[in-house]
Amino acid sequence: MDAGLLAQFVANGLMLGMMYALVAVGFTLFFGVLDVIKFSHGDVLTVGTFAGFSTFLGLKAIGVANPWVQVAAVMLIACGAMAILGALIARYLVMPLKGAPALNVLLITLMLGTVLRESVRLFFPDGANPKPFPKLLPTDALALGSFTLRLDSAILFVAGLAVIVAIHLLINRTKLGLAIRAVAQDEETAKIMGINFTLIVLATFALGSAVAAFAGVMNGLYYNEINFGMGLLLGVIGFSAAIIGGLGNIYGAILGGFLFAALQTVGAVALPFASAYKDVFAFAVVIVLMTIWPTGLIAEKTSERV
């Protein structure tokens, strides 16, 4: 295999990894503050992408043609709407079950995910079929031998990186981030210190869901096609990535996201059997990894109290 083709695969893998990492960060954030898995995360991503798509259709209808304005509006509305949806889910479905077994929260959010997914399928006009997502970013390509770098991919990758850096700064450098970390470490002590627990939880869910919407729109812009089931697989992969990395650890989630993308790419390229088996291979490796490191590569630091 020549270097150009290899670079192409690496570039695709990095792009996938960025999306997975963004989804995984959401899972790990939620787990950090509430110790719950919000499984509807992937479907929130779908709803966010469709919200972005609707925004695009709306802008086109009122005659806004500048692609940069369109991208900005699509991102803004998708992220904003999902931030609100995420906070609502936290307030009315996840927080009421705070004392219940963890399984119940997992189930209720799984089912909510189904409701969201089916709602998109049934109630979005012709929602059962894939929709062409517009190419809003410049598609100029830079050719280096057999390796082509498309400008839109580069922009998306840099934007994704910026989001990750922004989350890192938010968590580590701001007062809100400090509060989130405090709640994640010890809810009761955080409350005693005067932190508004409910507000922080809602803010965290809003943040995670907005990031998911970002990843969804990114996915749409990259593949130029969206469908109602896109979030299910992305959600499961994001969850697996967060788990491989170790729940509650943001850097673990990012690592897990890129690792999963690497597995898929390797599965598609380097293995002897057909590339159609790439997901089978990736999930099989996830199961093996979980067997070797049952609490993820960067293990959770909390110990169980009896």
Partner: protein, 392 residues
């Protein structure tokens, strides 16, 4: 969990129990008969009104007391009710197909119940194990001359065997980490089926008729001049399987094994301190549950005569989990009731067929929020006749 009203006073007669069974059978028959949506809704409304009246006038409580004290009345009553249902629909293909499907779902969900409800082992890949059973049966029936009853058992064994590959990861991980193992497997399995050409890919496989000792299950037959639909065969087979599965589950629950599994689920640390081998019991219940799911899947595949990957999606696994939850975790009768509701309702209401996933999902969310113990909550164990855990 509500304490069991386990004592029956001499003044109690058995009639409320028989009335309850007869009424439930009658309701099911009429419900299955109803053709238009208006009729179906009318039947549901009438049934709800009767149920309310029964509760209001104490018939329900008395029937429940009798059932709790002498469960055989309910067991045999349910079987008699099923046979009456069979008699009522002996010529109709579709209601019989539905009945058999419900019974097979009961078998599969009882298996899931052992994993989920007793040992507390999460399994979000029930439909995948169902599919393992189905595909094993399909391959064996198409390519080998193994007698079909043995094929059904091999279907279950294969599901158990594939489950064994997951035992180690499932045992080593806990909680959320363990959930991801089975979810990953569910998705892996479906993707594998879709891309594997020898297993038919997305188009699936066709199966020939089930034959037991030369008896072809796919042929209509006559007894004493009365024509019977060939689905009668499958309903009887499924009923036998369901009865065996139910009896097994009940025995298991009541035995010291059930007690051990309860301990494992409720408090691992305490159970381990009392010398319970956690890994052994979890592995055992996971394997046994998968076996039951696999057998049900094998019969299901042979009954339909055709299987495809779209029968065994992650969504279907979730439906099975919903059945356990709706019915009340750990209660076999809950599984029976919830399977019937979840399988039959969308078939009768074509209007909601399209909306079934969203409907169940909403139903489970509501149950979790407002009645987390399910429709028929599991009761506390009764160790001695007349003993009640909290004096009231």
């Amino acid at each position: 969990m509500a304490p069991v009203p386990s004592s029956i006073s001499p003044s109690d007669t058995a009639w409320p129990a028989f009335v309850a069974i007869a009424a439930a059978t009658l309701f099911t028959v009429v419900f299955m008969w109803a053709e238009t949506e208006a009729h179906v809704f009318a039947v549901i409304a009438a049934g709800a009104a009767c149920a309310w009246a029964a509760r209001r006038f104490g018939v329900y409580a008395r029937a429940a007391r009798i059932f709790a004290a002498r469960e055989q009345v309910l067991d045999w009553g349910a079987i008699a009710g099923m046979l009456m249902l069979l008699a009522a629909f002996h010529e109709e293909h579709f209601p019989l197909l539905m009945t058999a499907t419900v019974l097979l779902y009961i078998v599969a969900c009882l298996g899931l119940n052992i994993q989920f409800g007793y040992a507390g082992v999460l399994n979000f890949a029930a439909a995948a194990f169902f599919g393992v059973g189905g595909y094993t049966a399909a391959v064996l029936v198409r390519h080998t001359a193994i007698p079909h009853p043995i094929v059904l058992l091999i279907g279950g064994a294969m599901a158990a065997l594939i489950g064994l590959f997951l035992v180690l990861p499932v045992l080593r991980t806990r909680g959320h980490y363990s959930a991801v193992i089975t979810i990953a497997f569910a998705i892996l399995f479906r993707t594998f089926l879709e891309v594997n050409d020898t297993l038919g890919g997305p188009q699936g496989l066709k199966l020939p008729a089930l034959q037991v000792f030369g008896w072809n299950f796919n042929r209509n037959f006559e007894i004493a001049g009365i024509g019977l639909s060939f689905y009668v065969n499958y309903v009887l087979l499924a009923l036998a399987l369901a009865a065996v599965a139910f009896a097994l589950t009940r025995r298991l629950e009541r035995s010291w094994i059930g007690l051990t599994l309860d301990a494992v689920r409720l408090d691992e640390t305490a159970a381990a301190c009392f010398g319970v081998h956690l890994a052994r019991w979890k592995a055992l219940s996971f394997t046994f549950g998968n076996f039951m799911i696999g057998v049900a899947g094998a019969v299901y595949a042979l009954m339909l005569g055709f299987i495809a990957p779209s029968n065994f999606t992650f969504g279907d696994s979730l439906i099975m989990v919903s059945i356990i939850l709706l019915g009340g975790i750990g209660n076999p009768w809950g599984v029976v009731l919830a399977s019937a509701i979840v399988v039959v309702l969308p078939e009768k209401l074509q209007l909601i067929q399209e909306y079934r996933f969203i409907l169940y999902a909403t139903m489970v969310i509501l149950v979790l929020l407002f009645r987390p113990e399910g429709l028929l909550p599991r009761r506390l164990r009764v160790y001695f006749p007349g003993w009640s855990p909290s004096p009231k």
